[in-house]
Amino acid sequence: MATTPAGAPSVSIRLTVNGTSRALDLDVRTTLLDALRERLNLKGAKKGCDHGQCGACTVLVSGLRINACLSLAVMHDGDAVTTIEGIGLPDRLAPLQRAFLDRDAFQCGYCTPGQICSAAGLLDEAARGWPSAATGDLTAPVKLTDAEIRERMSGNICRCSAYPQILDAIRDVAGQGT
């Protein structure tokens, strides 16, 4: 059990970010979001509310979506983190990114990286058979109806209110069985 004293300038950690191992020395108070944005220069994940309410900072840790703003980087020493940059880049878009473009599922785009990372988490959770508050029969297989997708995306706010198009984009990809 190693203790980093209060006020100590740095703690050493290692993250696997989008498949690449990265070593970091940082203040123990650094959130995962700040480590990604300010130290690793991955600006895709956004800082909206910084209190876990808006979802703009959503990333995947070990495949599960979380709010990177409500997690310390040091808690994730050794973990695998996927950001929007690891989902796909402009020259090789992931199906969800393609669908967001095709469906015009944004206006300003600020919330979009979080929306897409969250949608990736949603598809994985549905594939695992995880229920949501919109699931009627908790013992039946999960079917991604529009009501299910809306409920499962409720952790991501879009101030431009592109919700109908976001729903269309996710429905497109969910319907492909990917």
Binding site: A6, V11, H51, N67, E125, R128, A133, T139, S154
Partner: protein, 104 residues
Amino acid sequence: MRPFSYTRASSAAEAARAAAEQPGARFLAGGTNLLDLMKLEIEHPEHVIDIGRLPLGEIAAADGGLRIGAMATASEVAADARVRRDYPVLAQALLAGGSPQLRN
């Protein structure tokens, strides 16, 4: 957020000992509540003991019921087949709280 010492506990006994030795320490598990309060300086512990890696997340049949480990996430409990079949109100209550990101 005010400075604090950070300890990652490698066993429950070690975590308990560290808390006993450091008055004002807080346990850090998922962190979604504690860190939010620390940012607002409502909580300002001098010592933070990270118990997130302790193997306490098991959901197991016990004494005719279920025993849910302290580190089981809301998502894991709500998705558990036994909870969904035998304790659906618990699953519904968990799924009504927070967001998917917070429950994970």
